[in-house]
Symmetry: C2
Subunit: 204 residues, 2 copies
DNA sequence: TCCATTTTGAGAGTCTACTCTCATAATTAT
DNA sequence: ATAATTATGAGAGTAGACTCTCAAAATGGA
C-alpha cells in the first residue's frame, strides 16, 4: 500500500465531473422540479452518459443529500460545559452559521429548501434526521451526565429540533427571512421556557 | 324496510374489498417490509387484480396513509380556554388516545411505525405533517389571540411537535413503551419548561 | 513512446409503480 | 326476465430509476 503523492489529474477530473453533475442537477431541480427532472436530462446537461451519473451518485436522491451535520456535532461537543443544552445548541448554531461564507450559505439554503419541499428528499433524509437527533441527544446526555435514553434528555432534544424544524418550514416558504438571527431568537425563546409574551395565563 | 344498511350490496362489497386489500397490504408490509412488497403481491394476497388495487388506492403509499388528525384538531379546538398551549395539547392528546379502542390503537400503532420507519411513507406524509403543524399553530394562535405568523407561537408549536416526534421515534424502536403515559409526561415536562432534574446549572 | 490502469459512453436490459382498454361478470332497476 | 349500470379481471403498455457489460478513450508510470 504505497501512499499516493498529491491528487493527480485523474482525481481532479473526477471531482470536477462530480461537482458538475451535481450543480447541473440542482439547477434543473430548481428550474423544473425534482420529480420532473429525469436522470437522463441531468446527464445531458452535464454532458455525460446517464450511467456516469449513477457511477457518481448511486441514486437520484444522492444528488441532493449532503451530510452537513458532522461539523455541527463537532462544534457542539466543544461548547462550554457550563451552558445548558439549549444554550449550547444555540451557541453552536450561531457559530456554525457565522462560519459559512455567503456562497456556502446560499448553497445550503438551496439544498435545505429542496429537502423540506420535495417528499422524496425529505424521505431520503429520514435516516439523516434520525441520526442527527440521536447524535445531538447523545451529546446532550453526555454533557448533562445522563443516560442517552433519559426521557428528559429526549424531550429537550425533541423540543430543540422541533423549534428548528418549525423555523425551517417557515423559512422554506419565505426565504427572505434572516435565518441566523431567527434561529438565535428561537432558541433563546426556548431557553426562556417558551413564554407567550403578553398574555401569560398560567405559569408552569 | 328491514334494517338493512342504507348502502346497497354494491357499496358494501366495495368497502369490504377496500378493507381487505388494505389489511393484506399492511400485513405484507409488516412481514416483509414496504419496499420489498409489490403491488402484485398485495393483489394476489387479497385475491384481486393488480388493477383493482390501483382502482381503490391511487398509489401504493395510499395503502398506509390515513388522516388521523382531523379529530385531534377538532378536540384541540374544544379544549378549555384557560389552558396554555402545551397544556391544551396535552389534555387533547390524552383525550384522543383514551378514546381509542385497543383495536384502533393497535392499528394506529402499526401505521405510525411504518410511517416513521419507511422513507417513502415518511415522505408521503410530509404534506400531512406540515398540515398538522400549520393547523395546530393556527389553533394555538387563535387561542392566544396572536397572529399565526408570530414567532413565539411557531416556537411553541415546534417544540410540542418536536417533543412528540422524539417520543415517536423512540417508540418506533421500542413498541413496548406505554405511549399514552409517555406522551402525557413528555408534554408535562415541556409545560414545566424542560428542566433537567438533577443538575440545574444555569438558568436562562 | 509504450503499456497498464482507470474512466467513460453506448446501449441493452430489469424492475415495478402506474395507466388504459375492453370484454365479462355482478348488481340494480324496471 | 330483461335491460342498464357498475365493478372486475386480464393484459398490454409506459415511464423512469437503476444495473451490467464491453469496448474505446483518457491518464499515469516507465
Amino acid at each position: 500500500m504505497s501512499d499516493r503523492p498529491a491528487q493527480g489529474l485523474r482525481e481532479r477530473k473526477k471531482a470536477k465531473t462530480r461537482a458538475l453533475i451535481q450543480r447541473e442537477a440542482l439547477r434543473l431541480f430548481r428550474e423544473q422540479g425534482y420529480a420532473a427532472t429525469t436522470v437522463e436530462q441531468i446527464a445531458e446537461a452535464a454532458e455525460v452518459a446517464p450511467s456516469t451519473v449513477f457511477r457518481y451518485f448511486p441514486t437520484k436522491e444522492d444528488l441532493v443529500l449532503v451530510d452537513q451535520f458532522p461539523p455541527f456535532v463537532e462544534a457542539l461537543r466543544a461548547a462550554p460545559r457550563e451552558l445548558n443544552p439549549v444554550q449550547a445548541v444555540r451557541v453552536t448554531m450561531r457559530q456554525v452559521l457565522d462560519a459559512q461564507t455567503p456562497e456556502e450559505r446560499a448553497d445550503s439554503v438551496e439544498r435545505e429548501k429542496l429537502m423540506l419541499t420535495v417528499p422524496e428528499l425529505w424521505a431520503a433524509s429520514l435516516d439523516n434526521i434520525r441520526g442527527v437527533m440521536a447524535t445531538v441527544r447523545d451529546e446532550l446526555a453526555a454533557r448533562e451526565g445522563r443516560d442517552p435514553g433519559d426521557p428528559e434528555i429526549r424531550n429537550v432534544t425533541g423540543a430543540i429540533m422541533g423549534v428548528m424544524w418549525a423555523l425551517w418550514f417557515d423559512w422554506a416558504k419565505d426565504p427572505s427571512m434572516e435565518v441566523v438571527e431567527a434561529f438565535d431568537q428561537a432558541l433563546a425563546h426556548l431557553d426562556a421556557g417558551l413564554p407567550i409574551s403578553r398574555g401569560d395565563q398560567s405559569p408552569g
